[in-house]
């Protein structure tokens, strides 16, 4: 039997953590409960974040969208601030699991799970998201790319909590695209995904391009070489093909039950072609 605790304030949460350092944090539970089911039973308490008002909700401050770490993905997808300032994140979140999973799963949980197939991660890298981390007596801020250190690995320290995700407003990128290829349409873990933020000049040339691929390496792959192939050019299939070729050389995908390395490389090279259709 595991005790289940519902702190409502940070002070109460850190008090529990101090006295029961082996407790596990649980946000939506959609990763944790599946993982616990696979392991042996134990008595480590669960600290549920769902009643911590501070961790739930979306605000803006200084041209930054601030999302509480325990905000469910369905709330993020439906949020007008997110839709206006960083629609890329909403698009990616909408591809996670099915509707009931998205009512439970949180953004903080997706980040802390640090799966190479975590669908919100490529957008968060491109959006330069910063993470607010809090411990009993200290807080710090870390860029997402520094926080995720490997597949399933993060820089989260013992006794630390992710409290919020800060996203600089990004509406200057008129084209915000997320595309995931899975084995089927719904409830599919990504075989490969592409997130793109593109700012076009009035004349239709690329002024700024950011591209990141998911599920094709231990961490998200942002490819500056591919981005450079787009900058200053129009999004023709020729330039997009060139960007794809650059990315193909930069990724190190694995063979697994979902796809082979070769297939993943082909996907990486071909996914940018969809940007032509998206303009």
């Amino acid at each position: 039997m595991r005790p289940v605790l519902f702190p409502t304030t940070l002070a109460a949460l850190f008090d529990i953590v101090e006295h029961q350092p082996d407790a596990r944090l649980m946000a939506g539970g959609t990763d944790l409960l599946v993982r616990l089911r696979q392991g042996p039973a134990d008595r480590r308490p669960l600290i549920c974040l769902e009643r911590m008002a501070r961790l739930n909700g979306i605000t803006t401050e200084n041209n930054t969208v601030i999302i509480g770490a325990a905000t469910p993905l369905s709330a993020i997808i439906a949020d007008p601030l997110v839709q206006r300032h960083c629609p890329l994140l909403a698009r990616a979140a909408a591809t996670v699991g099915g509707p009931a999973i998205r009512n439970m799963a949180t953004l903080g949980g997706n980040i802390c799970t640090a799966s190479p197939a975590g669908d919100t991660l490529p957008p968060l890298y491109l959006l330069d998201a910063r993470l607010d981390l809090a411990a009993a007596h200290a807080t710090r801020q870390v860029p997402i790319a520094a926080f995720i250190t490997g597949p399933g690995r993060t820089d989260l320290r013992s006794g630390e909590l992710l409290t919020a995700i800060r996203i600089p407003m990004a509406e200057r990128f008129g084209l915000q695209h997320f595309e995931k290829v899975g084995r089927r349409n719904a409830l599919a873990i990504a075989v490969a995904s592409l997130a793109a933020l593109i700012r076009l000049t009035p004349g239709g040339r690329v002024a700024e391009a950011r591209l990141a691929w998911g599920s094709v390496g231990p961490c998200v792959v942002r490819c500056s070489e591919a981005e450079a192939r787009l900058t200053g050019r129009r999004l023709t299939s020729e330039t997009l093909r060139a960007a794809g070729a650059a990315a193909r050389a930069a990724v190190t995908p694995i063979d697994d039950i979902r796809a082979t390395t070769a297939y993943r490389r082909d996907l990486v090279a071909n996914l940018p072609l969809r940007l032509g259709a998206a303009t």
Binding site: R37, P40, N103
Partner: protein, 172 residues
């Protein structure tokens, strides 16, 4: 604090299972249950409360057979623990016929042939109820999306989607 490596090997020791008192609203009635706080909600409903409508297909969030509503939103009873229900409002398929909309969902499933073996039906009906309640304006693609977390091995989905499209048109 989440390091799996801290996990002790071997048999957990300590006092025998302690149960918690959990109070919530279940299908319109206030209930108080005694259960271990980490009991899965699907087990609480089916085994402790005798509500066997909700089904367990996979136990890992992938099939939707255990879909219930908590505070009006769909959730998976296989991925919730009992203590999470404290103070919440829970609806299961057993309450489907308690509302006009729920009765329309039930009747449409019957008239459209949306039930074959029936194993997916309780979860499917709750997902359907959620979408027609929340967004009766939903068109066919939106309804397909709303039901996309629920697997059916029998019908091929067309009859189910037809049924829900029909209910949505009645609700508008």
């Amino acid at each position: 604090m989440n390091d799996e490596k801290q996990q002790d090997a071997g048999v957990p020791e300590g006092p025998p299972e302690k149960s918690a008192v959990i109070a919530f609203t279940l299908n319109g009635t206030a209930v108080t249950v005694h259960a271990t706080p980490d009991r899965r909600v699907i087990d609480l409903l089916r085994e402790d409360l005798g509500l066997t409508g909700s089904k367990e297909g996979c136990g890992t969030g992938e099939c939707g057979a255990c879909t219930i509503m908590v505070d009006g939103r769909t959730r998976l009873a296989c991925l919730m623990v009992a203590a999470q229900l404290e103070g919440r409002t829970v609806e299961t398929v057993e309450s489907l016929a308690d509302s006009d909309t729920g009765r329309r969902v039930r009747d449409a499933f019957v008239t459209h042939g949306a039930v074959q073996c029936g194993y997916c039906t309780p979860g499917m009906a709750m997902a359907a109820l959620a979408v027609v309640r929340e967004s009766p304006e939903a068109d066919r693609p939106a309804i397909r999306e709303a039901l996309s977390g629920n697997l059916c091995r029998c019908t091929g989905y067309v009859q189910i989607i037809d049924a829900v499209v029909h209910v949505a048109s009645e609700e508008r």
